[in-house]
């Protein structure tokens, strides 16, 4: 038993010695070129045979590889760098060592590679670095894996140029960004190829073109007329200009068949990708509907203003002429004329405050009676005056109320403390007008005037611009009565 144990342990020592000899023999055989193939242990894909036929073929294979490859020994000394790597990093062809490789990298890349090589002693690692070689920025994928050739525990490091891949990814990201910019734009944006066929269109285009425009010729799917170019230039020509490299900006266009937006501001620019090559054009169409509507509103207002100024001047001239023919003294003229102009101005002010929109009868009446109100307040009854009327009716009503009030203060109900004025608004369903009745009472006995003054003319004529409008004055002995008819077209429905 003891002998057997002794033999066994002696055999173990013998085995160890034999293995050491074998390792030494293997190294010697490799060193002296007695072998022409090696088994490389690859934990991932199993063992592989590398043949070193002759002296040159394996070497030639490494040199012919596209992939940059380098081998390092245990002390990180560079044993070999293939031709692809030497060219990639501009390393010298002869006697290349680790310092050449180190110098080819910037500080960050150097740190990354040295960390990679340290970790790769245990297992395969990879990292990406950026290097500047020959004035060009390159992106490299660096992979390092343990390389066990016989007793040598080295590292195999490969450098793969992934610049094209990185740039493609960047281009893809940039294209995605461009897509989202187009998609997010408020304006309608259409991209056409060199033949004028639409390749991209954002959501805003649906306001101009009801069907899907992709794959169809722009000029066919979005027919435009360009009124400002007097027919000489057509949408087709604008696209042709843009594809030829000329930008066209801000042309007003009409899209007669558009579902929603018909007034457009059209611009087209050449689409250049990468180099200066034009591969199509980008067309933007800005919605001009609101601007056109605003322009129309502005034109309308200018016309209206012109009309009103002329009307007002004519009215002032008429007031002046009529007042001078009815007043006997300069002072009388001055008082009557300025009173009437003030009445006109009061209504104007009210209308201006409302931007010449509608105004209530109460506001007109109050404005005209304002100069007399302190005396008239207790003796004035108003009823149902909150009806809104249009500006032309307001001006006429203002002048009529002014004349009636002036007359009442001078000769009628408001000339005595006992007098009273009632203003009542009424409307019968069958009438095409609204009535405003002015009823005086408690004043001196009224008699028919001997001559027709301007006041009477104003009262009877002011609202006659419409066949539904007008005013009749009745010199009733107990007090003046006036029925004013405001035509229904000047009433604001509310």
């Amino acid at each position: 038993m003891a002998t057997e144990l002794s033999d066994y342990s002696e055999l173990g020592a013998e085995e160890l010695r034999r293995r050491l000899e074998e390792a030494e023999e293997t190294l010697r055989a490799i060193r002296e070129g007695e072998v022409d193939a090696l088994i490389v242990r690859n934990p991932r894909s199993g063992d592989e045979v590398f043949t070193l036929e002759g002296d040159a073929s394996y070497y030639a294979f490494m040199e012919a590889m596209d992939l940059g490859a380098a081998a390092f020994d245990e002390a990180n000394r560079l044993l070999y760098a293939n031709k692809a790597l030497r060219e990639l990093l501009r390393l010298p062809d002869d006697e290349v060592d680790a310092s050449h490789l180190s110098n080819a990298l910037d500080e960050e890349a150097r740190l990354r590679v040295s960390t990679l090589m340290r970790d790769a002693r245990i297992a395969k690692q990879n990292t990406e670095i950026q290097v500047s070689a020959g004035g060009e920025e390159l992106y490299l994928l660096v992979t390092a894996a343990p390389l066990h050739v016989g007793a040598v525990k080295g590292l195999a490091v490969t450098f793969t140029d992934i610049t094209a891949k990185v740039r493609a990814a960047a281009a893809e990201a940039s294209e995605r960004a461009a897509h989202s910019i187009i998609a997010s734009a408020n304006e309608a944006v259409v991209v056409c190829d060199a033949d004028g066929v639409i390749t991209h269109a954002n959501a805003a285009v649906s306001a101009i073109c009801a069907e899907n425009p992709i794959g169809r010729a722009f000029a066919d799917v979005i027919p435009l007329t360009l009124p400002e170019t007097t027919g000489l230039l057509q949408a087709r020509d604008i696209i042709a200009l843009a594809v030829a490299g000329t930008s066209v900006q801000g042309i007003e266009a009409l899209a007669p068949e558009a579902p929603r937006v018909r007034d457009l501001l059209l611009s087209a620019a050449p689409l250049r990708v990468g180099s200066d090559k034009v591969i199509g054009c980008v067309i933007t169409m800005v919605d001009l509907s609101q601007r056109k509507a605003a322009e129309k509103q502005q034109l309308l207002l200018m016309g209206e203003l012109d009309h009103r100024v002329k009307n007002t001047l004519a009215l002032v001239l008429s007031i002046s002429k009529r007042t001078s023919s009815t007043e006997d003294t300069v002072q009388g003229f001055q008082t009557a004329f300025s009173g009437r102009i003030q009445a006109l101005a009061a209504t104007h002010n009210l209308l201006a405050d409302r931007s010449w929109a509608s105004i209530s009868i109460a506001e007109v009446v109050n404005a005209e009676l304002d100069p007399f109100v302190t005396r008239a307040l207790s003796r004035l009854t108003v009823d149902g005056l909150d009806v809104q009327i249009m500006p032309r009716a307001a001006i006429a009503l203002g002048l009529v109320i002014h004349e009636l009030a002036t007359n009442a203060v001078k000769y009628g109900a408001l000339s005595r403390d006992t007098g009273h004025v009632e203003v009542v608004v009424g409307r019968k369903p069958e009438d095409a007008f609204l009535t405003v009745d002015w009823v005086e009472s408690g004043g001196p006995t009224v008699s028919q005037p001997t001559r027709r003054g301007f006041g009477q003319t104003v009262i009877t004529r002011s609202l006659q611009y419409s066949q539904n409008g007008g005013a009749e004055i009745d010199y009733h002995p107990q007090g003046v009565r006036c029925r004013i008819r405001i035509p229904e077209e000047d009433l604001v429905r509310g």
């Binding site: 085995e15 072998v35 193939a37 043949t51």
Partner: protein
Amino acid sequence: MQDQTNVTEPSEPLKLVLYVAGQTPKSVAAINNLERICSEKMPGKYIVEVVDLKKTPQLAREHNIVAIPTLVRQLPTPIRKIIGDLSDIEKVLVHLKVGE
């Protein structure tokens, strides 16, 4: 030594395994050299198996082969390895202990 006694036993033939890698020059040379040694120096006393590791690289594990060509004396034990193309006949014979 026990193994030496076994080797000299005339009744027990040598079992040899030659590991090659396809038709590499040293693989071909090793095959030719082994054939010559076997026929000239030890006729009838051997069984030879040739393993092509290009076809079956996994077999390299059995004898822990690193360099090719390698000749392994599998029997008698202990295993012995001779690396190279076997052109040095004397060295091969010494390693195989043939003729002792």
